[in-house]
Amino acid sequence: MNLNEQLGISLRAVDKEIENMVKFDKDVPRSSELARSILELIRSGGKRVRPLMVIVGSRFGSAPDERKAWRLAAAAEFIHAASLIHDDVIDDSPVRRGDTAMHIKLGINRAIHVGNYMSARVIELISAYSADRERYAYDLSSLVTTQLCLGEYQQLSHLFDYDVTIEQYLEKSKNKTAQLMAACLRIGALSAAADEETADLLYSFGEKLGMSFQIRDDILDFTQSSAKLGKPAGSDLRSGQVTLPVLFALQDEELALRIRSIGAHTPAEYTSEVIDAIQSSGALQQTEALSQQYLDEAQQIIDRLSGYPAHRDLQALLSFFGGREK
């Protein structure tokens, strides 16, 4: 059973809500290239994890406001999708969700502006509900991507930096990935008038899932076949990203010497040999253990929220994140 089915949420309804963000924008003609490009991107698929997290969060409140929760859910996916468009430009990735990436279809400039439009549309919609300013200020500041950008800057400033610490890596991962997931659960909860303590626990739960998700992603870069990844295994290291498996591998003095010799101009064959050595070291197991630790901590939060029937939805989210391909 898919995650959305376990949560009792129709993915089609979620997608419709997301599509409505652009369809009901009076400034965008329906036949325009902008509308068409966004609808194509939405229809190309995606698990909609972030919108699902917003809706799950709303199930922890005493006064659920379905309209508000679903609007926020769509907004969260819009922000995520906008960041993917810009990521593809930065990474020069030609494919997104099996389809040609937007910057290949429209050119870099226009693709960047489409991403900007999506973020600006979210800000427009949220800032328009001005009845409760404290609420909207929180929703907006959670969804704007300042932290995500800082995570990207942190990553950029540490390319081929083998002295980066595990703490710095975790901070980067929190900013880049976990913060938005955590915020999704929290804004959903607050939209339904959940109490602060519950909302904070949900934030913490989402953060731990997000950290585990990012760490698992770093493992997949080493373990999945190049056919599945669409790029050679170990691509992160090849492009200078010193991820957690590399940081653990650096603790082996002999391997560290070989890793530290990799730079921007290192021949691919040499890097491949080092990647093989990292794969057969214990680094991936250590990384997996840390990912599992985050999931265990998330489980403890579920236990604290067991008084809410919706704690079962958190369990479904945890199983989904924990069961991702290794």
Binding site: S32, N109, N116, Y136, C149
Partner: protein, 150 residues
């Protein structure tokens, strides 16, 4: 006076930008002059003038950073241009919230969105930003006067 306002806004904005971004403000004073002049025509504290101008500069700079990205090959320079623009767009929202300029944000958000739409269409109308700010100031002034009259 206008120069002082621009300097204040620059310093304010630079102080709000995280050092991790490496963004150094280098807008030409003449690019900001019309907005500063506009703000100086309205009755508000020097602090608020500098705040509104710093928000305007953040958006302006974001627009500049995301201009002509197609002329660059993928790599560090393009990455920084995209990231800087993204960061500055999110910073303008954070600044509006921090300064409690909720009405300014609600007014500017659709304007910033429309600017993006025009850019996607290949017919940029970035001047909508200063026009949008002018309309906001005029409306606010009118509202304040009406309130006083009542």
């Amino acid at each position: 006076m206008i120069t002082a306002l621009i300097q204040d806004a620059f310093h304010l904005l630079q102080g709000e930008i995280s050092p991790e971004t490496g963004i150094i403000l280098h807008l030409k004073e003449e690019d900001v002059w019309p907005a500063a002049l506009l703000l100086s025509e309205y009755d508000m504290t020097a602090q608020r003038q500098a705040r509104l101008l710093s928000i305007y500069i953040a958006i302006n700079l974001a627009l500049l950073r995301h201009q002509n990205c197609n002329q660059l090959e993928p790599g560090d320079v393009l990455t920084r241009k995209v990231l800087d623009g993204d960061y500055l767009y999110s910073l303008y929202v954070q600044l509006c919230l921090r300064f409690e300029e909720f009405d300014f944000l609600a007014h500017l958000a659709p304007v910033v969105k429309q600017i993006q739409i025009k850019r996607v269409e290949g017919q940029p109308e970035d001047e909508r930003l200063i026009k949008g700010m002018e309309i906001f100031l005029r409306l606010e002034h009118h509202r304040n006067n009406t309130r006083e009259a009542i």
